[in-house]
């Protein structure tokens, strides 16, 4: 048995009195804890924590890790997530003590190395995006979007224009776009896409008015399609005095091919954890730098990285800044990885990366359209969307295809959006996958296509070869067990005869 079937929590392992890491807690001063902190400031409720040896802890987590799919073990064509290879030299750099062991308040002169990384990363992002200035504070894409909304607001406010409370987003947009606007108390208006999955110019015109603060757009959009009318769109929006926000989650399609700044976008965020190869870490951390055109620079969060002579430093003049978006400066370890990636790839390498990402996606699209329906069958950019709405009569949903893929050691494509496509499978191979991997994927999809006809149950019951079958998500939400204490409570209730949950 290679993968342990033990699903006990750390809390359920170990033994009372067993020790993992111990410290030499002998006090340096003459007094003990109770002399230092009065009783009423002390914790009463005892901490329920595991008591495990270091070996037990290591085995626990190593075995947990072995239950995961990941880029380094599996093909992971999760659309919109750009699951490209995370180069190992990035990890080496980010783990280097010369960068990890630096305190954020050491002062600029004591941090010239990392400051240079901040500064140069900004220059590279400017080059890639065509924007004029960046803040590297935002910690993820959604954080960048929120920053963007604040910038939009600050700009209109600065011009005395406070009617603009409306944010337009296409119905194909990622959930964070409307959510970010709403978090900032903006009013969200969703634009219906046209039959070719793009922004419908008439629909846009119909909703654009002098209460419109901004249009948020992903380009290529979440169907992997480039907005051909982009120049017309940005012109229309600008004419109405609104701004344009670019969700850069799909920038991996465009490096060196086209720039949001040139398209007319005013604000851009870039996901370093997508386009610039930093790892997803099981959900984070990421980094979502926000770039703007010159006229918005005064509003950017402070501090900003700058270089005077040979010296790198932070500029803290408040200007008309919207203020700070997080403590300190940014996710330095992620920014450092992105810097390493950009230096390794170089300009020509980045262009090639996008070209190959687009080529890989189109190749898959061409191969798979013989088996499944492509939502919008045109040349795509870095990703494309299949629809399996035809299989609904057999009760098979897109999610089921995803589950079945797991059996073959392939991660499921994105299935929870874009909402504009029924039963969507959003597939993004990225440029770091070899043609052989794509061909293998096509073969597996072909087999699944046959199974849909021959043996739908095989798909509906999938996955068959993983540590668990499908979890009961309804039960999880109806009776949330979210911590070890919840579990203990549930067990107590069960012992008292209450209906059982896990």
């Amino acid at each position: 048995m290679l993968i342990s079937d033990d699903s006990r929590l750390s809390f359920e392992k170990g033994s009372p009195g067993r020790r993992g890491i111990r410290l030499n807690a002998a006090p340096l001063g003459a007094k003990g804890l109770r002399d230092r902190l009065p009783a009423h400031l002390l914790r009463k409720r005892p901490l329920v924590l595991p008591e495990m040896s270091e070996l037990e802890v290591v085995r626990h987590f190593v075995n947990l890790s072995r239950k995961n799919f990941s880029i380094d073990t599996h093909f992971y064509p999760l659309g919109s997530c750009t699951m490209k290879y995370n180069p190992k030299v990035n990890e080496w750099a980010a783990a280097h003590p010369a960068f990890t062991q630096v305190h954020p308040f050491e002062g600029d002169d004591a941090a010239q190395g990392i400051l240079q990384v901040y500064y140069e990363t900004e220059q590279y992002l400017k080059a890639v995006s065509g924007m004029d200035r960046f803040t590297l504070q935002p910690s993820a894409g959604a954080h960048g979007e929120l920053t963007g909304m604040m910038l939009v607001h600050a700009w209109h406010e600065s011009r005395g224009d406070s009617r603009r409370r409306k944010i337009l987003v296409p119905d194909s947009s990622h959930g964070t776009n409307p959510a970010s606007a709403a978090l900032f108390n903006y009013h969200v208006v969703e634009l219906k896409s046209n039959a070719r999955g793009r922004v419908d110019l008439d629909e846009l015109r119909a909703h654009l008015d002098d209460e419109t603060a901004c249009l948020m757009l992903t380009n290529p959009n979440t169907l992997g399609l480039f907005e051909e009318d982009i120049l017309e769109i940005t012109k229309l929006v600008h004419e109405k005095g609104a701004l344009l926000y670019y969700d850069g989650a799909n920038l991996n399609a465009l490096l060196g091919l086209a720039r949001p700044g040139d398209m007319g976008f005013d604000i851009v965020h870039i996901n370093l954890h997508k386009t610039f190869s930093t790892p997803h870490g099981g959900g984070g951390p990421g980094s979502g730098p926000v770039g703007v055109k010159k006229f918005l620079e005064p509003f950017l969060p402070r501090p900003l990285a700058a270089k005077t002579g040979d010296r790198y430093h932070w500029v803290t003049d408040p200007g008309q800044s919207i203020g700070r978006l997080r403590a300190f400066y940014g996710n330095s370890g992620i920014i450092l990885r992105a810097w390493v990636y950009i230096r390794m790839m170089g300009g020509p390498g980045l262009l090639r990366a996008s070209q190959d990402a687009v080529l890989n996606a189109n190749y898959l699209r061409a191969k798979l359209k013989n088996i499944f329906q492509v939502a919008i069958d045109e040349p795509c950019m870095h990703e494309f969307v299949l629809t399996i709405r035809g299989a609904k009569k057999q009760g098979i949903h897109a999610g089921d295809i995803g589950k079945r893929l797991l059996d073959f050691g392939i991660h499921a494509p994105t299935v929870h959006f874009p909402l504009v496509v029924e039963e969507a499978l959003m597939i993004e191979p990225t440029e770091t996958e070899a043609k052989e991997v794509l061909d293998h994927f096509v073969k597996v999809m072909g087999q699944i296509g046959e199974e849909m006809i021959r043996d739908p149950d095989l798909i509906l019951q999938a996955p068959h070869h993983l540590p668990i079958h499908r979890p009961d998500e309804v039960l999880a939400a109806r009776k949330p067990v979210l911590s070890y204490r919840d579990l203990l409570r549930e067990k107590m209730l069960a012992a008292e005869g209450a209906p059982v949950s896990p």
Binding site: F11, F61, F69, G282, Y329, T432, I468, P502
Partner: protein, 445 residues
């Protein structure tokens, strides 16, 4: 051009499959006027060159290996067991995405569940999310939650909350109908309860108190939550998580929300990030909680299984009606904290916390005896405290740096009234020799 597996042959074959003769045919939907980009980015380096370059840059950073640092103030030099980085460097952990496919992500999901368990233990609250960006943004989201939950407009924030956190909160509220009102600090660093009473009003959604606060002081919040709850408001606490191993917990103080910076739990200082915003709440607030939650359930064969749950709060389901916009969080940092807590375990966590209390108080006593310096207060602290210098702090700082010591954070930069005060932090990493060396150097000032 590393990392690109397509060979010229591959490209040729793929072109053929696609029936195209040039890449350009694939990107015809890009208007011609947008093309012809010249990327102003230097040629790629080999890894050999990159490694050498990075070593060179690294030498331009001063690390806490190279000097004796007493810097704290929201980023702490704590001991990290070697096992932490070795575990979180498992390829299957760090190169996985958010665990949307539970069958293929039981490792990440169970680890998040355990992380949530640790944070609820420490905070004494009922639920914890899977992480937020950092302590500051976690606080901002907590305030937004309180505003929504109470349907009120004001957030009371102690002046002794980390200045960056207050700035971030203000940023989040700017342009909204909501605002933050500052509650004063007493001269000894404690929350000014009278000022709090005077500002508490019918529009108060919550009060935000940090403990240990930015000046290091552990707050006595006796009666605070009763007062707030009676007024229909919530109590939000910001805490150093390791302090909670010995300090009365937010749950015990009656807090509704506890947020803060999880960096002390096994995460390096990293020049300020990536860190770990933790976010815990009372059960009643669960449906408004931002961020991901891992839950325990059963699979179709009745086996224990983990999955993301209550996703109806989240942006990918609810879009503009979501509890928050957060998507990518700080999962790997949460894993580090989870591993750290598991490794130290019940006793180790307590030992680590006690050592901080010991080091800080011991050092404060020593510095109190140095001519030219005085300590603001003798109130209990966790691992940092305020020192006042009779000379300009800039001079002290310069002299100590020359002796390879970073004496602390200039408080005058954040609080005009605290010119020539500095914040000194001593964690469990400091030895008796370290403290003596520091005190000797101060004596030379």
């Amino acid at each position: 051009m590393s990392y690109l597996p397509l060979t010229e042959n591959d490209r040729r074959d793929m072109f053929e499959t696609l029936g195209i003769s040039s890449f350009e045919e694939l990107v015809r939907s890009i208007p011609a006027s947008l093309r012809g980009v010249k990327l102003d980015i230097p040629e790629g380096l080999s890894e050999l060159e990159l490694q050498a370059l990075l070593e060179r840059l690294g030498r331009k950073n001063l690390t806490t290996r190279d000097c004796l640092s007493f810097l704290g103030g929201g980023s702490y030099d704590h001991f990290i067991p070697a096992a932490v980085s070795q575990i979180i460097s498992r390829n299957e952990f760090y190169t996985a995405y958010t665990p949307y496919q539970p069958e293929a992500s039981q490792g990440t999901l169970q680890a998040i569940f355990e992380y949530q368990s640790f944070m609820t233990e420490l905070t004494g609250l009922d639920v914890s999310n899977a992480s937020h960006y950092d302590g500051a943004t976690s606080l901002a989201e907590a305030a937004l939650l309180a505003l929504r939950q109470t349907d009120r407009a004001t957030v009371l924030v102690a002046r002794s909350v980390h200045p960056h956190y207050r700035e971030v909160l203000n940023t989040y509220l700017k342009g909204t109908p909501f605002r933050a009102v500052e509650v004063a600090t007493l001269a000894d660093g404690r929350l000014d309860r009278a000022d709090f009473e005077s500002k508490l009003g019918p529009q108060t959604a919550c009060a935000v108190v940090q403990s240990p606060n930015f000046f290091g002081v552990i707050e006595d919040l006796d009666g605070m939550s009763d007062r707030l709850h009676a007024a229909g408001s919530l109590l939000v606490m910001v805490c150093h998580p390791l302090a909670l191993a010995v300090m009365k917990s937010p749950g015990e103080w009656g807090a509704d929300l506890a947020v803060g910076e999880g960096q002390p739990l096994g995460i390096p200082m990293n020049y300020g990030g990536p860190y770990l915003g933790y976010f815990s709440a009372a059960r009643s607030l669960i449906r408004r909680m931002p961020g991901r939650l891992a839950g325990m359930t059963l699979d179709s064969e009745g086996r224990r299984a983990f999955c993301l749950t209550l996703q109806a709060r989240e942006q990918h389901i609810r879009r503009e009606r979501a509890a928050s916009n957060i998507c990518t969080n700080q999962a790997l940092c949460a894993l580090a904290a989870c591993v750290y807590m598991t490794l130290l375990g019940k006793e180790g966590v307590r030992e680590a916390a006690e050592m901080n209390v010991d080091r800080a108080h011991t050092l404060r006593e020593k510095i109190a005896g140095v001519k030219g310096f005085s300590v603001g207060t003798n109130l209990p602290v966790f691992n940092e405290f305020v020192v006042r210098s009779s000379k300009p702090f800039a001079e002290v700082d310069k002299k100590l740096r020359a002796a390879n010591i970073l004496p602390g954070i200039d408080l005058g930069a954040f609080y005009p009234e605290l010119r020539d005060h500095f914040l000194v932090c001593a964690t469990e990493t400091k030895t008796a020799q370290d403290l003596d060396r520091f005190v000797e150097a101060l004596k030379q000032c």
